[in-house]
């Protein structure tokens, strides 16, 4: 229950997340854990170890690969899978493009981020997943503040904010019709700072791009972007060597860097505690429209 003083707040958040993961195992036939390579899904993996070891995870990990990843993320992913001995399923956005299901965006701000949704839904359909565990948190932004822990999606992957189920106590209703699936968010109640404090406490390794390093960058729409072959650049774009780190690890074309000298996790926690900019402020494609997140959720994005 919520009111318990014997547990430290991180212990309580952890215990709640483990509880939710075990509910997924108990209630669904074919669940999956959506693994993005970011700190939130890395945290989920640690929580899954706590929930199910010495047994195997009752679900595979699923990575939707835009093909525009930071190399550091893919390295990390492959080493992690090796260590865990769990199953990894990869859905390639490139396959969706080749199959003509989606069309690559054009122009300077082209990104594959929006295309991921189709690949994700195809992957879910192909493997008939009935529950997908994700690392979204309610504090990320307004559209998520009302998200349920068990969030039902129709067969088109759509989220209907008007048809959310009441969610009482810690009783999660995972009953669905055929073709529907549930997105499950075990760390809903964590803030960005909670995640970092947990990573520090648990000594969890992260992809190196989370920490300050030197990198070639360009400035786009007021944000620092990593210069990469995936970014459509022209003469106007000036490449500069900057000292940066990333606060999220999405597609390279839409994940903005922040100038930083935070080389250690303690530095990062200090940086966030002083709260310069909230996390989603650093993800470019949410800036496209205010309601971007709500739209993407309705469309089946995580």
């Amino acid at each position: 229950m919520s009111t318990n003083n014997h547990l430290d707040y991180l212990d309580e958040l952890e215990a709640e997340a483990i509880y939710i993961l075990r509910e997924v195992a108990g209630q669904f036939e074919k669940p999956a854990l959506l693994f993005s390579g970011g700190k939130d899904s890395i945290t989920l993996v640690r929580l899954a170890e706590k929930a199910f070891r010495p047994g195997k995870f009752p679900f595979p990990l699923v990575h939707i690969d835009t093909g525009h990843n930071f190399i550091e993320t893919i390295d990390y992913r492959d080493r992690m899978i090796e260590r865990l001995g769990e199953k990894l399923i990869i859905g390639h956005v490139q396959d969706s493009i080749n199959e003509g299901k989606v069309v690559e965006q054009k122009g300077k701000n082209a990104s594959r981020n929006a295309l991921q949704t189709v690949t994700l839904l195809d992957t879910i359909a192909k493997h008939q997943f009935d529950a997908c565990i994700g690392g979204a948190r309610r504090d990320e932004e307004k559209a998520r503040a009302k998200e349920r822990i068990f969030s039902v999606r129709d067969e088109f992957g759509q989220w209907d904010p008007k048809r959310q189920r009441p969610e009482l106590w810690n009783l999660y209703n995972g009953k669905i019709h055929k073709g529907e699936n549930v997105r499950v968010f075990p760390i809903s109640n964590w803030t960005e700072l909670d995640v970092w404090n947990y990573i520090r406490r648990e000594k969890i390794e992260l992809p190196s791009i989370y920490f300050a390093h030197e990198r070639d960058c360009i400035t786009r729409n007021g944000q620092l972007m990593a210069a990469s072959p995936f970014l459509n650049m022209d003469e106007e774009d000036v490449v500069e060597r900057r000292n940066v780190r990333f606060r999220t690890v999405g597609d390279m074309t839409c994940t903005a860097a922040v100038e930083s000298y935070a080389y250690q996790i303690d530095d990062i926690i200090n940086e966030i505690s002083e709260s310069k900019i909230s996390e989603r402020g650093a993800r470019m494609d949410d800036k496209v429209s205010e309601a971007a997140m709500e739209d993407r959720k309705k469309g089946g994005y995580f």
Binding site: E14, Y19, A25, F52, K56, K146, P166, N173
Partner: protein
């Protein structure tokens, strides 16, 4: 640092959004870019100060546009506590949302507009807070600035509320005179009300005792999942995974598995990197028993010395949450901890008019209705009365036709 979840209850325009905004703003719990957006906004109060209600605008915009009205969660923390606010609308047509928000709350802030005093909505909100068993209540008497911070007016409202609290059986009520707009007694103590000697709202929220008395609570652990690696090295490994709902379990404690009634004792308590000797309330653990008995998801482990009630016919309070009224001929599902079984509402004893607290005996159970019923379940439930042990006394009703959660049950007692 620990976690306090609380709910705010008030009627439209009592100042709920302003109060939450003030709490976040004055406690410096707002992120820089949100702060920028706040200052950039051209919505201002009449006196030119920034409108803090913008910080909780999610719900408001929706209310205006008539779309989703729902529970929105907000997070902030101070050095002492992490706070989770469940922001639910207070209008009667959103009773189910308030019930939802209240189900997990350790504390309720009830907002009263000082100019209006205790009104119908206050009665309703207080009744719900009591029904859902929220352990702590703070009544914030708001807009004191509009009454020139008058002590008499405040005392009058406090006295009226105390009478109400007694009627709905609310204990632990704390009163604070505030002005959310001006910031009096929200984070900083008010210089305008020297007659008020108590703490500010934030001081109170940071320091209120939210400890659960573990020694008094009975040990309950619903089994969620059985861990059976079935590998060569771990051939006989069989761990029962679950979260301690109440009380605590220690190694060697005698346990009973319900509803089967088999008994054994705790051989080992496991976590990933530790084997604690005790699993206390809220901990997610894996339990090993001394004997090989058949246990699966849906079973409840209890300390053998502290048995819950086990019954198929149970009297309970019900809040109906679906637009389709309760159908007493329909077979629903009931979910109680990890157990799901079929059920029927076999009798409606009465409904409560939650504005006047009068009982009603005639009509059908519709959306937002609350009352007392008898539920009949296919398999027996092993439960504790909700008012004694929330963690093992709450249940939800699911309509098998739509799979939607249609009712909240607060179980009371077995019917012979």
């Amino acid at each position: 640092m620990d976690i306090l979840k609380f709910i705010t209850a008030g009627s439209v325009d009592d100042g709920k959004s302003t109060l939450i905004g003030r709490l976040l703003y004055d406690s410096e719990a707002i992120l820089a870019d949100q702060l920028e957006a706040l200052h950039a906004s051209n919505r201002k109060n009449d006196d030119g100060t920034i409108d803090l209600a913008i910080l909780t605008d999610g719900l408001k915009a929706e209310r205006e546009q008539g779309i989703t009205i729902d529970v929105a969660y907000k997070y902030f923390n101070t050095d002492k506590r992490k706070f989770i606010i469940a922001d639910a609308p207070g209008h009667i047509q959103y009773t189910r949302n308030m019930v939802t928000g209240a189900s997990n709350a350790g504390l309720a802030i009830i907002l009263i507009d000082a100019r209006k005093g205790v009104i119908e909505q206050t009665i309703r909100h207080s009744f719900l807070v009591s029904l859902l068993g929220i352990p702590q209540v703070v009544v914030c008497i708001n807009k004191m600035d509009m009454l020139d911070y008058n002590e008499e007016a405040y005392n009058q409202i406090v006295n009226n509320y105390k009478a109400l609290a007694e009627k709905v059986e609310l204990n632990n009520v704390k009163f604070i005179p505030v002005s959310a707009l001006k910031g009096d007694n929200i984070v900083h103590s008010s210089i305008n009300m020297p007659w008020y000697k108590g703490e500010s709202l934030l001081d109170y929220l940071e320091n209120v005792d939210i400890k659960v008395d573990n020694s008094a609570a009975h040990a309950r652990l619903p089994v969620q999942w059985v861990i059976r690696p079935q590998t060569d090295e771990l051939h006989d490994y069989r761990g029962y995974a679950g979260r301690v709902a109440s009380g605590s379990f220690r190694v060697n404690d005698p346990v009973t598995v319900l509803p089967s009634g088999f008994t054994s004792s705790i051989a080992k308590i496991e976590q990933l990197d530790a084997d604690p000797v005790e699993a206390s309330t809220g901990m997610s653990v894996t339990i090993h028993l001394a004997d090989d008995i058949d246990i699966s998801r849906g079973d409840l482990l209890v300390n053998s010395a502290e048995q819950p009630q086990v019954a198929q016919l149970i009297e309970a309070d019900l809040c109906w949450m679906d637009t389709r009224p309760l159908d007493s001929t329909h077979t629903y599902l009931v979910q109680h901890n990890s157990k799901v079984t079929r059920c029927r509402i076999s009798e409606v004893l009465y409904k409560v008019n939650i504005n006047t607290l009068e009982k009603q005996y005639d009509e059908e159970f519709k959306l937002n209705d609350i009352g007392r019923i008898v539920i009949k379940t296919a398999d027996a439930l092993a439960f504790d009365p909700y008012q004694k042990n929330k963690a093992n006394g709450g249940a939800i009703i699911i309509d098998s036709r739509t799979n939607v959660t249609v009712g909240a049950l607060m179980l009371r007692s077995a019917v012979d």
